[in-house]
Symmetry: C2
Subunit: 309 residues, 2 copies
């Protein structure tokens, strides 16, 4: 069952209270794919980089089972670059630099070998490009998951809503859910978003966990409280990659399996934040993931007893 991921492959320069990096490999599709690969997926990547993108980074993606047939390398152009600085609370950040470079002219091509796509992950990108990817598939995938961000709500709300109407699952953070709907309560915001087309919604709350909704049900997964959070970059994408990776692995699109998938995503994201950039994800093993998933059982499980009061 093939998983196709479209998104950014980028250079990031990151500063947190715990240190800073030079240009390192980042991007939504990078994190989504690395995460899904830990759950046994061979993610088929659709993305664009410049010819400054180093062979070592390509080798790293290959080593993590990425299929790079859909990775366009534009000669004479530079890779998308983002630089940001996190505040002390690690929940908010300032963007210092955004150089779109190759991303400005990104026109994704779907390789013929990707047409077996059963699970499609639309990483954060311009909504029109996300739409184009959906439409370039001859057969509708079993599940389409779409991530987005406030930036597109600010400048392309109409296109964003058109794209949202085409997908099965939307992932946004809490502030984005509020911006998208004008509702402060996340319960009300969720119900409004579910009238826009998707059957499921995930609201990511960072260190405060994630909420999964359908029209009738609600599930909450905490983030694992950690002693050492070094760099939150990519945590949301890693979460999404764990979510869709688990669903692709199991082939089960029931709400009960989505709960498990949310827990997998939370477990994977908890590794991502423990080192800068993709560093921890590159060496992470499946058995480490399984151990951490078990920790979520301990963290959340309680057994009610019959008490008269």
């Amino acid at each position: 069952m093939s998983l196709v991921i479209v998104g950014t492959v980028a250079f990031d320069a990151i500063e947190t209270p715990f240190g800073k990096t030079d240009k390192i490999v980042g991007g939504s599709a990078t994190y989504v794919g690395l995460s899904a690969s830990k759950l046994g997926q061979k993610p088929k990547l659709i993305a664009v980089v410049g010819d400054d993108f180093p062979q070592s980074a390509i080798d790293m993606l290959k080593k993590n089972n990425f299929n790079l047939e859909g990775l366009e390398i534009k000669k004479g152009e530079k890779t998308f670059f983002w630089s940001g600085k996190y505040h002390f609370d690690m929940n908010s950040r300032d963007t210092l630099v955004t150089e779109l470079n190759v991303l400005a002219g990104f026109d994704p091509e779907m390789p013929e070998s990707y047409q077996d796509c059963e699970y499609l992950m639309l990483g954060n990108l311009a909504p029109v490009i996300q739409q184009k990817v959906i439409k370039s598939l001859k057969r509708r995938p079993k599940l389409i998951v779409m991530d987005t961000m406030n930036f597109w709500m600010d400048i392309a709300m109409d296109e964003l809503k058109k794209t949202i109407a085409l997908v099965d699952v939307v992932t946004v953070n809490d502030e984005e859910a509020r911006q998208l709907t004008g509702e402060y309560s996340l319960v009300n915001a969720a119900q409004k978003i579910l009238t826009m087309g998707p059957k499921f919604l995930i609201i990511k709350k960072g260190e405060h966990g994630a909420l999964l909704f359908d029209k009738d049900k609600m599930f909450f997964a905490p983030a694992l409280p950690l002693a050492d959070v070094v760099d939150p970059t990519g945590a949301g994408d890693t979460f999404a990659g764990g979510f869709i990776g688990y669903i692709a692995k199991t082939g089960d699109i029931s709400f009960d399996n989505f709960k498990r998938a949310v827990i997998q995503g939370s477990a994977l994201a908890s590794f991502c934040v423990q080192d800068f950039g993709t560093k921890r994800m590159e060496t992470l093993t499946s058995s480490e993931v399984r151990d951490r998933v078990d920790q979520f059982v301990g963290l959340t499980r309680f057994e009610l007893e019959a008490v008269e009061y």
Copy 2:
């Protein structure tokens, strides 16, 4: 098994984005006791009010099974008054007025009939007064739970730490845990607080749930996501009342039972915020509490499946 609660009984005037109140009955001991009463407790109250405290409020407390032998009514003095205004996010508030009135000279007396105390809840009060209450009990209770707030960390840190060393369970919010320890990570903050004396710590995160710690284990309970949050006043005290009320009801001070108690506290707090002041708590029934506790199972429960990856 008798539950003794010391804390404030107050007048509050509250403004939220959804409306405002005149002076209504509030105070930490009021909320703690109302909450515990829903779990079948007859809380023995230690508090002080002025002679402006109306008979209707006393009747309300009696109707909710408070034992008022330890409620001192000071003639010619006025009841503690607090007024506050919540911001749009409902997570932060400004204090507009604090009139200590009778609270300034509060010197709690332990009625002889309270000496059977098995469970002692120290609601938010000056740490020296909390200490005095502990010392006025001839026999150490089975469990002492203490709430406090940043105000005492600012002006009475030494006394606060002495009190913390005397209790079994401390409850603070996330910012207070950080202020008390200088640790940003809640995991690190928790471990530091547990070296100060208490065996258990609860970190309340408001709408983001609550964490329970002992030296080796950690448990997380979400807050129930709600469509309608009207007034957060008293939610933390209601949580604490549900926690100690459930433990007093069951007589079980194991970590596993503390998990259930945290869930009860979360369920009770989710009612408290749905109307102004104590309004919802006054009419809440035990069967409504049980139904809401069941909702927490649905919200958090997932079943792992054996998947090879």
